[in-house]
Amino acid sequence: MTTFPGHRFALALFAVVIALWLVVMMAIMRNAALPPDATGPMLVVFEPGTTSQSAFAAITQAGGRPIRETTFGFIWVVDGIAGNFEAQGALGAYRELPISPTIAGCVAVADAKIAAAFGL
């Protein structure tokens, strides 16, 4: 006699898949991070909680041109030099991705935090 799994199995399966997905996304985002001398349109991610006004100020102080703000004020699509944004407190600068900048920015934040925590 064999027992067939039920809802707990479904929940566990989907949770594992989502966890793996986050790991893969973070790894890819790490590779999408731009070197300091990169220029052009890019996604700049600040510390979560940074206000829209503070992020805007940091972008302009870095000599960048804000292109558009995302749903969260700490993630912006900008034009400028990647290293300058990081010097102004950005967690990272990434190639503009053909997916929602908000989602990409959130994954980038998670990646930056994990990298900082484990010294990667």
């Binding site: 064999t2 027992t3 067939f4 989907f14 590779n31 991705l97 997916i99 929602s100 990409a104």
Partner: protein, 413 residues
């Protein structure tokens, strides 16, 4: 909590254990459905790299969808004859070859052959319909609808997770490398299909009460069965509505001043809630009848669409619309597959579901095509939205007379 179901079987290797079979079946569904949903991200980079007009890539994807629909009944016949696992493996190989051609050729005709015909057939052979056929033979009848639900939900989840991965990979590594990586991922289907070979084993092949008809006779008898014809007609509507929304909702939202990012969120909400809806539909189908929930889904779709287009389009109404629509999105699949199984048993389920799915794909084609055609004529999507509402009500009605019992010709000999 769902009561644990049990089934007797002879000693089988660990990889034929129900937990393993279900897990791997779900992974196959995720990979199959997920990867094909990423092809939209490659439209621009491939067209630009080859200096092609957008039409060449679009034609390849249109061909792919057409071949997917046409090849599904054939895939079903092969699955019913040689076992679903072998068909899934063959599909993975074709999927892989098609994607290799897609990544490497600059010749339009070859591109249409690879990205259109070969991938289309590969997708059909390795689709979650074939996975469901395998699971349907393995799980006991009281768990069957749940298994169809989780397989469908897995396909939906695949769509949700592979899209951002593909987009991010294109940014990080370029389109060519990304396409090759995704092509390699299709080969994952092969090892993950191995546990589904259990559905070919003698303990699972033919259960008591299955028909002794030949395949040809079974197809003929099914098309002579009124409930099957009604089910097939209803599934046409599902394809029409889903394909129309997938392709034409983003431009419709843009016309109504919804930002591109909000539109992206709205489409993602469909995917996310679809996982929940598909799973829940499997549970509902397992607890009672399937035709009334199906009928209700189509009524709700019609009410939802009518409300959406009659009310002012705002970010809030858009999110409510897409989230609710997500719950109703592929929730028709486990119930439809469940009805096929109730009426005809598991022996020819892949074949007979294949024909129902062909009707779905014809509906999809018309939904996409008419959406564009009537927009060009009237300058608005409203006629097609209302057509979708009317078709939804039609589908709700045609499901009502379906008789949820084994068709006479398919009853035990």
């Amino acid at each position: 909590m769902m009561a644990a179901a049990t089934v007797s079987h002879r000693e089988l290797p660990w990889y034929f254990a129900p937990l393993v079979v279900l897990t791997t079946g779900c992974v196959v569904a995720m990979v199959n459905f997920g990867i094909r949903s990423t092809f939209g991200h490659f439209t621009l980079p491939i067209s630009e790299a080859n200096l092609w007009p957008r039409e060449i890539y679009s034609l390849a994807l249109a061909l792919q969808n057409l071949m997917w629909g046409v090849a599904t009944p054939v895939a079903g016949m092969l699955a019913d004859k040689y076992g679903p696992a072998r068909v899934l493996m063959a599909g993975a190989v074709l999927y892989f070859i098609g994607m290799l051609i897609m990544a490497s050729t600059g010749v339009p005709l070859l591109f249409h052959l690879g990205a259109g015909v070969i991938i289309g057939v590969g997708v059909a052979l390795s689709s979650f319909g074939i996975v469901m056929a395998a699971l349907g033979r393995i799980v006991p009848p009281e768990k069957r609808s749940w298994a169809f639900g989780i397989a469908t939900a897995s396909g939906s989840l695949g769509q949700y997770i592979f899209n951002p991965i593909a987009a991010a990979m294109i940014s990080a590594y370029g389109w060519h490398t990304s396409l090759l990586v995704l092509a390699a991922c299709t080969l994952l289907i092969i090892p993950f299909a191995v546990p589904l070979l259990v559905s070919n084993s003698t303990s699972a092949k033919t259960t008591a009460g299955e028909t002794e008809l030949t395949m040809r006779a079974a197809i003929a008898k099914a098309f002579g069965h009124r409930s099957y014809v009604l089910l097939t007609a209803g599934f046409f509507v599902c394809g029409f509505q889903i394909a129309f929304v997938t392709v034409h909702l983003p431009p419709y939202l843009a016309e109504h001043g919804i930002s591109k990012e909000m539109a992206g969120f709205a489409m993602a909400a469909i995917g996310l809630f679809n996982v929940i809806g598909s799973y829940a539909a499997g549970i509902v189908g397992g607890r009672g009848g399937k035709r009334l929930p199906l009928s209700l889904i189509y009524v709700l779709r019609s009410v939802l669409v009518a409300g959406f287009i009659l009310l002012p389009i705002t970010p809030l109404t858009t999110m409510i619309f897409t989230s609710t629509l997500g719950l109703l999105w592929l929730s028709t699949v486990p119930l439809t597959m469940g009805l096929v199984t109730v009426m005809f048993g598991t022996r020819f389920m892949a074949t007979l579901y294949g024909f129902v799915f062909l009707s779905h794909q014809i509906g999809s084609f018309l939904g996409v095509w008419l959406g564009g055609k009537l927009y060009d004529i009237y300058g608005t999507y409203d006629p097609v939205w209302w057509m979708g509402v009317a078709l939804g009500l039609f589908a709700a009605l045609v499901h009502l007379p379906i008789v949820e019992k084994r068709a006479d010709a398919f009853a035990a000999a």
